[in-house]
């Protein structure tokens, strides 16, 4: 291989890594390049989390991670819910909520790696409502034996 070709290939590699590094340092969206910012920020001890709240025909209510009601990777579900139910149109919100409820009842799914299984009713009754809420969790008073204290709940949709 000629020296010039080797230099060109090395230059290509440097450019490629520069793009990746730029995303890590300054953020931005340039798919399929990635910043690989994984859990990069320090946690807040009072953390806001998104929860899906489902109720079945027997009145059983469960509060679960949005990944249990959306059949895609759990790590992308929070962004999806936040984007649609805060910035989406009313039509999108209505359609998504309706679709997810139908999907839970008619075509539940199993877990695979980053995809959580769909939420199940303890009595196998059909789900009749789906809401999204923001829960403020208090990690400072966490204890393994009790569930994580929820300081505040806010309705996101509906």
């Amino acid at each position: 291989m000629s020296r010039l070709r080797k230099i060109s290939l090395s230059f290509f590699l440097i450019c490629f890594l520069t793009v990746q590094l730029k995303l890590t340092l300054f953020g931005g969206f340039l798919w399929p390049f990635s910043s690989h910012r994984l859990f990069a920020r320090m946690p807040e001890m009072n953390k806001q989390t998104l929860q899906a709240v489902v109720e079945d025909a027997n009145g059983d209510i469960q509060s679960v991670h949005p990944g249990r009601v959306i059949p895609i990777e759990f790590c992308r579900c929070v962004g999806l819910v936040r984007n649609i139910f805060t910035n989406g149109s009313d039509f999108q919100k209505e359609q998504l909520q309706k679709y997810l409820l139908e999907r839970l009842n008619q075509k539940p799914w199993w877990a695979f790696d980053e995809m959580y299984p769909s939420v199940k009713s303890p009595t196998e009754a059909a789900f009749v409502s789906l809401k999204f809420e923001t829960h403020e969790l208090d990690f400072t008073s966490y204890s393994y034996s009790t569930s994580l204290p929820v300081k505040q709940k806010q309705h996101l949709y509906p």
């Binding site: 340039l30 399929p32 690989h36 910012r37």
Partner: protein, 279 residues
């Protein structure tokens, strides 16, 4: 640097195993993974094309056509059937498919685009010969660099956004495990010091070990450390990243033993020294 980029050991055979591994990973991901009918059912009101293919149409029911075409070409490419044709088709269609599923309202999150880059790189694997060995070596070096840099990016972003405290306190791992962890991980949250140890190990692994991927002698140990790191994360947090580290055996562990076989596959250069058949 020249050695790392252009003189990788046994590049053709390693690239062959990487091709087989990558195609198997993609087929498995598509058959049982999150490439769900969600992307068909919600497309009319959720799909919105964005960069880098803002012209890309809503596929509607052709989502299945695209998905099964990718599976078909991945299978063909993996088996080495008409590689010159099936390779580029697989890489291109898989790029479109992975792009398509990012256009459904979710914020982009790192998932598996290394598979897209590697699939594209595999299309450029040259015919086996001594003169093309350096280019094959470069393709391999590109993949190793990508893997090493990925960990470094992850560590650097933690350092930038969370500071040293991210690694020393282990709090982020602790809180995420409380929220999303496995039963074992949640049980471990009773002892926050365990997560401090995990935080420090994460810092060492992501900020320092990536450099050792560039040296022949330390590469395998780094790969072992990386697989252990991912299995540990899976055990505690349920995040496996299997579609990354499943490539490591082909990328890092197939080396010298098979290089003997590779050398014997270049007999033409030594043909002159072979005894002539008796008249």
């Amino acid at each position: 640097m020249n050695h790392f980029l252009f003189e990788q050991i046994n590049p053709f055979e390693r690239l062959r195993y990487i091709r087989i591994s990558l195609c198997s990973i993609v087929i498995l991901l598509l058959l049982v993974g999150p490439y769900d009918s969600f992307y068909l059912d919600t497309a009319p009101w959720l799909y919105k094309a964005k960069t880098p293919f803002p012209w890309f149409p809503n596929l509607g029911s052709h989502f299945w056509t695209l998905k099964f075409s990718v599976i078909f070409f991945a299978l063909s490419f993996g088996l080495g059937i008409w590689k010159k044709t099936t390779g580029p088709l697989f890489a291109l269609l898989f790029l479109f498919l992975n792009y398509y599923v990012t256009c459904f309202g979710s914020t982009y999150w790192v998932t598996n685009t290394h598979l897209n880059f590697f699939a594209i790189a595999l299309c450029f694997v040259p015919q086996k010969s001594k003169s093309s060995k350096e280019f094959a070596s470069f393709l391999l070096a590109f993949m190793i660099t990508y893997v090493a840099f990925l960990y470094f990016q992850a560590g650097l972003s933690k350092l930038l956004w969370g500071g040293l405290d991210w690694f020393i306190s282990g709090q982020r791992i602790w809180t995420e495990t409380i929220l999303l962890g496995t039963p074992l991980g949640k049980w471990l949250t009773q002892w926050p010091w365990i997560f401090q140890v995990m935080g420090i190990w994460t810092g060492i692994f992501e900020l320092f070990l990536p450099f050792l991927f560039f040296f022949e002698k330390t590469q395998r140990w780094c790969a072992v450390a990386a697989i252990t790191f991912h299995l540990g994360t899976f055990t505690v947090m349920g995040i496996s990243f299997w579609f990354l580290w499943s490539l490591y055996p082909a990328l890092f562990f197939i080396k010298r033993n098979s290089s003997i076989r590779l050398q014997s596959s270049f007999p033409r250069h030594d043909d002159s020294r072979a005894p002539l058949p008796a008249p």
